[in-house]
């Protein structure tokens, strides 16, 4: 069985882990995985899909970089009789064009983070600063939306500053530094919400350098659950993270298997769990578990 996998690229540790896990899962099942890295470009993904079709693979996995613009190429795959499975993000094409989508719910992730914060601070007034992901990317848009929904109805919670940190540690740290300066040395800030853990890890450094205690003076909540955030959590410097599992391929392969063997149509959306981790979840243990996954 040959499966083509069009990955977005390798812009973060999380994605590297997803790639690793996908390769591991394929190997486990004896599947020949054709891997294509799109360097963050949709046009490259479309090209890759077309090449897969031209090669005549048995199925295609794609982690779409953006939701729109897939109708044509998915149609071509359908014409060629090749099932397409979406990993980690979905597309807004007609549902008949793909077999299934294995994704988490990005809005839900933000929501979980928001809810956690609302529950944690209770009635206390809390000024939140937000580190957004890359402007225009769907996780940035949806995680922002979800978080805002999560804190809705809590008038004491207020997002006072929101700026992009491009999903990177360096920018996370730099932007946090400017937040701290702008908000009275950080004394106005009660919590930090970062769209991914990497930015949170960078921001934690900035908070420490400003002479404040992350996790105590400023609460830190973020998304992804990469190993390094658990280290921070163990040190009491981060408070919560929402897991985005890198194992999207496992369920996808299972669905594909069932479909090819028994012609069993899987559900159109296989949602992965968005698990909340806090300091009470034995962070060091999770860290050890996750360390080897290629994050």
């Amino acid at each position: 069985l040959t499966v083509g996998f069009s990955q977005i690229g390798s812009e973060s540790g999380w994605r590297a882990a997803e790639t690793t896990v996908t390769k591991q899962e394929a190997e486990k099942r004896g599947i020949d995985l054709k891997f294509a890295d799109a360097q963050q470009k949709q046009e490259n993904q479309i090209k890759a899909l077309r090449s897969f079709i031209a090669q005549g693979v048995d199925a295609i996995f794609v982690a779409p970089v953006v939701a729109t613009g897939w109708d044509d190429v998915l149609g071509e795959a359908k014409d060629a009789g090749i099932p397409v499975l979406l990993l980690d993000r979905t597309v807004d094409s007609d549902k008949s064009l793909y077999l299934t989508a294995v994704t988490s719910d990005l809005v839900h992730e933000g929501n979980v983070a928001g809810k956690w914060l609302a529950d944690t601070v209770k009635d206390k007034d809390c000024n939140i600063v937000e580190l957004q992901g890359t402007t225009g990317s769907s996780p940035a848009i949806d995680r922002k939306k979800g978080f805002e929904q999560g804190i809705e109805g809590h008038a004491n919670l207020k997002i006072i500053r929101s700026q992009t940190g491009d999903f990177t540690r360096t920018k996370g740290k730099e932007v946090m530094e400017s937040f701290l300066k702008a908000e009275n040395g950080g004394k106005n800030i009660c919590a930090l919400y970062a769209h991914n853990d990497d930015m949170a890890v960078g921001a934690i450094e900035a908070i420490k350098e400003a002479g404040l205690k992350p996790g105590t003076d400023i609460l830190v909540v973020s998304i992804d659950a990469v190993p390094d955030i658990f280290k921070a959590m163990a040190a009491g410097e981060a408070n919560a993270t929402v897991e985005l599992t890198p194992n999207m391929a496992g369920p996808a392969f299972d669905a594909l298997d069932a479909y090819l063997k028994d012609k069993k149509e899987p559900p159109k959306w296989i949602q992965t769990e968005s698990k909340l981790y806090t300091a009470s979840d034995d962070p060091m243990k999770v860290y050890e578990l996750k360390k080897g996954l290629g994050y």
């Binding site: 390798s10 994605r15 929101s162 990177t168 360096t170 740290k173 400017s178």
Partner: protein, 341 residues
């Protein structure tokens, strides 16, 4: 002596004025901009942030200035930053000493520069394409070293480079200021500066005059590699980890911008390292200003573009030449000034 410094000052006046204007804008947006306090034995404040965060661009701009002076360009610096950060991280994680790690990282940078220089000066490949090769492949090499993950390390002496303090200043600030001063002195106290300028203006004529153009070009790219390596160490040490995916991303554009805002011509020839360093600070001051201003991030790029265009229009060789501005508005009119031969 006085005359010499007077000339230098006049040459840098536009940059100094621009920097002041940008800083004043920052103060208008954020009155506490110039507040500096001492925190844990280290100066703390937005201005210090500008100096500190501007370190990678400033360092890379030093090498880029010389490369541009030779009529070249180095697009690979961002990738070299990633490679050297990854090399350093991998080396400490493997348990090597700090001296070994630093040497290895810096040599790697120089080797990358050597490769670029070889393509440009010996194989005569156009600089933009020659360095494009490493720009594309280099990030892959860095990812190969870290396997796509962020390679974190805990070696305190390495971390010191990024977040340590010397003379109450963050280490990156000390490094770029010192390194900039050393390179400026070397280039200006020897004949190197003159020879580089000659090569950049007319390579063939310089060669016929006995200038070793190949070696000089090679040297310029190697210096650029070295600068990128130092920047790579700082970037990695700053976050205690090597992020092969994002370290130095688009840094080449910022560095080139810094060189040009610093008043250097992209066509090669006359150059000023101090100008480029001022340029780097101007750009960082803009970036920091945008971050502290509190505008939504959708506007970041527009603000940056508008400020850059404004700066360049003001620094344009045609400013003061009101005619040019009028002509821009209604082309067809003549300007009462001679064009140069």
């Amino acid at each position: 002596m006085n005359g010499k410094y007077g000339r230098l000052f006049r040459r840098l006046l536009p940059q100094i004025i621009t920097l002041i204007v940008v800083l004043v804008l920052n103060v208008l947006l954020f009155p506490d901009f110039f507040n500096i306090s001492l925190q844990n034995g280290r100066l703390y404040g937005s201005v210090i942030d500008v100096l500190n965060r501007g370190a990678p661009v400033a360092l890379v701009a030093i090498g880029m200035t010389l490369v541009i002076a030779t009529k070249g360009i180095d697009l690979s610096v961002g990738a070299i930053v990633a490679i050297c950060g990854a090399v350093a991280a991998a080396s400490t994680v493997a348990g090597h000493s700090i001296a070994y790690t630093l040497t290895l990282a810096l040599l790697t940078g120089i080797a990358c520069g050597f490769w670029n220089g070889f393509l440009v000066s010996v194989l005569n490949i156009q600089p933009i394409v020659a360095t494009l090769v490493l720009m594309v492949a280099g990030r892959g090499i860095a990812q190969l070293i870290t396997e796509g993950a962020i390679l974190t390390f805990t070696d305190d002496s390495l971390i010191f480079i990024g977040s340590g303090t010397a003379f109450h200043l963050p280490m990156p600030v000390v490094i770029w200021v010192l390194f900039g001063a050393v390179v400026t002195l070397i280039v200006r106290r020897t004949a190197l500066g003159l020879l580089v300028e000659a090569v950049g203006i007319n390579r063939h004529a310089s060669q016929l005059s006995g200038v070793r153009t190949t070696a000089l070009l090679m040297g310029a790219y190697m210096l650029s590699g070295l600068c990128a390596a130092i920047a790579g160490l700082i970037v990695a040490a700053d976050i205690k980890g090597a992020d092969a995916n994002n370290a130095g991303l688009w840094l080449e554009l910022d560095a080139i911008l810094a060189v040009v805002v610093g008043g250097n011509s992209l066509l090669g020839g006359r150059f000023s390292i101090i100008g480029s360093l001022l340029g780097a600070m101007i750009i960082q001051a803009i970036n920091t200003g945008i971050l502290t201003s509190g505008f939504p991030p959708e506007y970041n790029l527009i603000i940056k573009a508008v400020i850059i265009v404004t700066i360049l229009v003001i620094q344009s060789p045609r400013i003061g030449d009101v005619g040019a501005l009028i002509k821009l508005i209604k082309p067809g009119q003549t300007v009462g000034k001679g064009s140069h031969q």
